[in-house]
Symmetry: C2
Subunit: 362 residues, 2 copies
């Protein structure tokens, strides 16, 4: 195992087995003497990559047949525009749940294309950041859709329940927690997720969309921002980011070999517990700003009560091979992003380090 | 050297040295014990990749300081929309030169956003495909810009001269020939090129844009389709396709080591000559549909006079390690794409094979 653990929020750590396969195949994919990077997208070789990747994703998330899977270029931020352009339709209005910077960015972009209702916002409970209970949401039954972010990476806030939106399609940004826990696809109209946290490298976004929502977009929508075009061409309307697709395929195969989503969920829960327990038992040396009901299993955000210790913490941690632990520039503090690929050993090492650091400076 | 030569039009062959570096560094980029794929885009490590890549591109193409270089996600097809959205401005009209399927796609998309004048189209000369001489172009001096594709991959037609557009900015799609020959950047307002032919892997597009052309886009332009946004954020408005950027960096370093653009141009000219000579000396067994004045140095397109021999040609060629030679599905025939990374040895092997095949079946 590598001796450096990268706690970056994304692009993030990848499974060592995936990197080793990519390394071994770099000049010779499946005996072709070509790199996966060199395979033309319409050739029989890449077709194999495509089909296997979609098939594995369908298996891992039990995606029903009336949902289409699209592999699109660029990151999830492009979806902040594509969702309203493709889903607003004649209704021209949508509900957004604002629980952090990513959902705020999504709704700010959507406001350029329709009437956006902020149906609920991040709140406080016992002085801690908390998700608004569904009972407080002001949903509009005439909305074209309801949008929310399943996990907010900057504050480390995560939904541990699925919003109930009746007949209004629910759109979920799962960029930072897809495949980390079971997901009931049928509760959603559209799920989107960029690849660089739990599914591969940056530059690819996966969509899981209910077929009936693939409609004509608003006038003026760029051709390559149109779901209908990508669906019609099976994500091949133009040259797709082939190598990113290949890497995602390797990640999905790895996840299947780990026992799938249920198995990784058990590990992810343990990993998060190691860190939150360490924080909660630190007698206030480490402070979590998030209410226990909505703490993120993917991004463990915390502060050191004595802020001047934070740069020292980061510097010392790096000496132990624990890198990229600095909180987001808009928030500061410490953030340990522990996606699927972060081994439990890395999290245990961080918990040990936190304990030792507290003893030394507490 | 690998024994398989991939003549695909893109994603295409990459230099073996680049793949070997990528392989060696896969689990340990520059001693970090992290893959380049795992580096967070705002961290100091990736900043090094970014800066070196831009600096090498500037050196290779002698890009003047008043031109910005942008590294954008997705392929060049996204530019078919972004160019009109960002450059049409108040003038609302532009001139397009239609010389093949790519420039046709570009203008079809542009027509959705403004008044597009097709100033010239592909023509015939001595019964062969030919580029329209500039004297026949009907340019509009009030156009916001003039757009053309420097090389058309499907028919194998290439400009060996630079259009003269006076004070109207010239926009060039150089996706399939950037860095293959010298380029006088100052003749252009905007140059764009996707990476997967001469610069790396699919999913990245490089823009070289004169600073004064970075203006407010048309209303409703998606935020991530806005040049101004990408320029302001130094191509970091959101998570960029980091690994694609890294691979492009390796390709540029390799090109510098080959002696740069002038040196590769010499090799590329020789490579193209090997094949066109073979065609021209075949007494009509192989037929080039393109006038010698505008034959592509990157995509050598030809037919076998007896069409029924083509499937046999492709099958036999593959047995010799010469793969992906089939012409585009819209055109048929044979196409040998011989970008910078195709070794001269691969081209000589193909020329030998063509000669032997002709002897056997001619």
């Amino acid at each position: 195992m590598r001796k450096v653990f990268n706690f970056s929020p994304g692009p993030a750590m990848l499974p060592e087995a995936v990197l080793k396969t990519a390394q071994a195949e770099m000049l010779n994919w499946h005996g072709t003497e070509m790199s996966a990077m060199e395979l033309p997208h319409r050739g029989m070789h890449f077709q194999e990559v495509m089909q296997q990747t979609e098939s594995d994703l369908r298996t891992l998330l039990a995606i029903p047949p009336h949902y289409r899977v699209l592999f699109l270029p660029d990151g999830a931020a492009a979806q902040f525009t594509m969702v309203p352009l493709n889903l607003l339709g004649d209704k021209k209005c949508a509900d957004y749940i604002q629980t952090g910077i990513w959902s705020k960015k999504a709704l700010t972009e959507a406001e350029r294309y329709g009437a956006i209702n902020i149906a609920a916002t991040l709140t406080k409970c016992d002085g801690l950041l908390a998700l608004p209970p569904q009972s407080t949401w002001s949903l509009d039954e005439k909305a074209a859709y309801v949008h929310y972010a399943s996990n907010e990476t900057i504050d480390g806030v995560q939904f541990h329940w699925v919003p109930e939106t009746g007949s209004v399609p629910l759109v979920g940004d799962f960029s930072s927690d897809i495949l980390s826990r079971p997901l009931d696809v049928e509760r959603y109209g559209l799920i989107y997720a960029s690849a660089q946290k739990n599914m591969g490298q940056a530059g690819l976004t996966v969509l899981i969309i209910r077929e009936d929502l693939i409609q004509d977009p608003l006038p003026g929508t760029p051709t390559l921002y149109t779901y209908k075009v990508h669906a019609k061409h099976h994500s091949m309307a133009h040259t797709p980011p082939t190598y990113s697709w290949y890497i995602t395929g390797l990640v999905l195969a790895w996840l299947k070999a780990q026992g799938g989503v249920d198995a990784i969920f058990q590990i992810n829960q343990r990993k998060a517990c190691h860190l939150y327990d360490c924080i909660d038992r630190s007698n206030g040396f480490y402070v979590s700003p998030v209410h226990p009901d909505c703490r993120s299993m993917m991004n463990v955000v915390y502060d050191i009560h004595e802020k001047t210790l934070e740069p020292i913490f980061l510097e010392e941690a790096a000496k132990h091979g624990l890198v990229y632990l600095k909180g987001h520039r808009l928030r500061g503090g410490i953030r340990a992003s522990i996606y699927n690929a972060m081994p439990e050993a890395g999290v245990l090492l961080l918990a040990d380090f936190m304990h030792t650091f507290m003893k030394q400076y507490g």
